[in-house]
């Protein structure tokens, strides 16, 4: 058993140690952005006393004459085509309500989900009654955004074999502003863990399966634990690294040229020594 007690040490501010080419102009609500009245005001700002004042905490973005403040901690705003990781909160008549860290619960319609075996037919009353057999309250799923309703609620679909119920793994919740939109959000790390970067800030880290399952559509949740200790440790280590990266380096995750190096499996302790390049 381990017990580490120590005296506190003053932490060095990060901006001195991490060299940045472009310094971000960070503001908090109430900060003056500029006193120049020639700018148009965008989201996150308001005009008060002849100067532009920020109303959210974030970084200032300027495009020609438009100034807006992009908030660091936001709710997820859905766009068609985004990959999200969500948690089922309710099972309703023909749909599931999914929590995705947005302003309204997202919706997963029964018709947007693949039937087992890949059948293509109209969903019947028996399918409705069997809904809880597929997904229950508390399950985690990966899905793609199909449409956005007028009130901002998002409609999801899992019409592909790579989406579906998630099995063993660790969920890390970060701010949605940190996850950039990319070509692929499913990555396999060399350390034995795989990662799904949800655009809504939910990141799912799981041990890489030895063989890719086909045809099941991802609904058979794998609860086996034999032989997965090494990859489980890898996924736990990755999640600790991710939490540290999020805490100390407010940069985007997985932008091109930036890789997250996870320490080798031979490292004796779990306190991760992080290397973020780029």
């Amino acid at each position: 058993m381990a017990m580490e007690m120590r005296l506190p040490v003053a932490r060095k501010p990060l901006s001195e140690s991490v060299g940045r080419d472009t310094k971000k102009h960070l503001v908090v609500p109430g900060d003056t952005i500029t006193t120049d009245t020639g700018f148009m005001r965008g989201h996150g700002t308001y005009m008060g006393e002849e100067k532009l004042i920020a109303s959210v905490a974030g970084s200032v973005e300027r495009v020609n004459k438009l100034i807006c403040v992009k908030a660091l901690k936001t709710r997820y705003n859905g766009e068609v085509g985004d990959i999200v990781v969500g948690r089922i909160t309710e099972v309703q008549q023909k749909r599931w309500k999914v929590e995705t860290n947005s302003r309204l619960d997202s919706v997963l319609l029964l018709s947007s989900m693949n039937l087992p075996g890949g059948e293509l037919r109209r969903r019947s009353a028996e399918d409705e009654l069997a809904m809880r057999g597929f997904l229950q309250e508390g399950d985690l799923i990966s899905a793609e955004v199909q449409a956005v309703f007028s009130d901002g609620a998002v409609s999801l679909h899992t019409r592909s074999l790579k989406y579906g119920k998630l099995g063993q793994g660790v969920l890390v919740q970060v701010s949605p502003s940190l996850v950039k939109r990319q070509k692929t959000h499913f990555h396999d790390l060399p350390c034995g863990a795989s990662v799904i970067l949800g655009n809504n800030g939910f990141i799912w880290i799981y041990p890489t399966p030895e063989h890719k399952e086909e045809g099941a559509g991802g609904f058979a949740a794998d609860l086996e634990t034999e032989g997965v200790r090494v990859s489980t440790e890898a996924s736990l280590r990755t999640s600790s690294c991710l939490l540290l990266a999020m805490k100390w380096n407010w940069g985007a995750l997985w932008s091109p040229g930036r890789t997250l190096r996870v320490p080798a499996a031979e490292a004796p302790s779990f306190l991760p020594s992080l290397a973020v390049s780029g």
């Binding site: 058993m1 580490e4 007690m5 229950q136 508390g138 489980t232 779990f270």
Partner: protein, 286 residues
Amino acid sequence: MTVLDYSRSLEQISEDLRVDGRGCEDYRCVEVETDVVSNTSGSARVKLGHTDILVGVKAEMGTPKLEKPDEGYLEFFVDCSANATPEFEGRGGDDLGTEIANTLYRIFNNKSSVDLKSLCISPREHCWILYVDVLLLECDGNLFDTICIAVKAALFNTRIPRVRVLEDEEGSKDIELSDDPYDCIRLSVENVPCIVTLCKIGYRHVVDATLQEEACSLASLLVSVTSTGVVTCMRKVGKGSLDPESIFEMMETGKRVGKVLHASLQSVLHKEESLGPKRQKVGFLG
């Protein structure tokens, strides 16, 4: 936590592996600093992971209790600040605060924890009352352990001014404070106990649970242990039930872990004191 998360954590804990990589009997890293509040007789701030506790001890003169005329006493007050979680806003934190204060009273309610006779100035008339105020700044699971560590560190840091009772010819007593501001008496905290909270998750029990792990656990056992491994008080919290064998196992683990906890705390407190007045104080803005 989902059903799958819960079952996954059950499987992992059965292999002595938790979500953050710790073993079942490992604590998170603890940071202890004493003498952080200048207008108290003693203070300490303890950070265990993200749980942040500040304790201040003020020594005031008062009359002893009627049933114990030659002893001083301790009064505990716990304030759950609204900064910790939004649930503590307004009067939301009062219930938890009262529960923690009552637990502290129970732990210290024995002859050997603190030498109360040394707090007596003159029997039946004057004694020192130590008002221990606990402030919860941030809450991330395992409150009781952290609060006890902080109370012990604050009592170690407490300096009570030395007073003398002068009696003149008519028999009226006068209390004289010594001129030297550094002439103080210190309390011996050798026998002050520390709480070890053991949460039952699945078939095993874990020490130092985070908020997520506490949400998974249905029953916990609070064991108050001194530095020699003597159990002073035990309490069960939670809606679930514990069978007697588990209670026995958890108590043994608590004793074992408690001894190591005391040893580490003693060494850190002595190390901090040996640095002397030149040590760099980190405080709240570090």
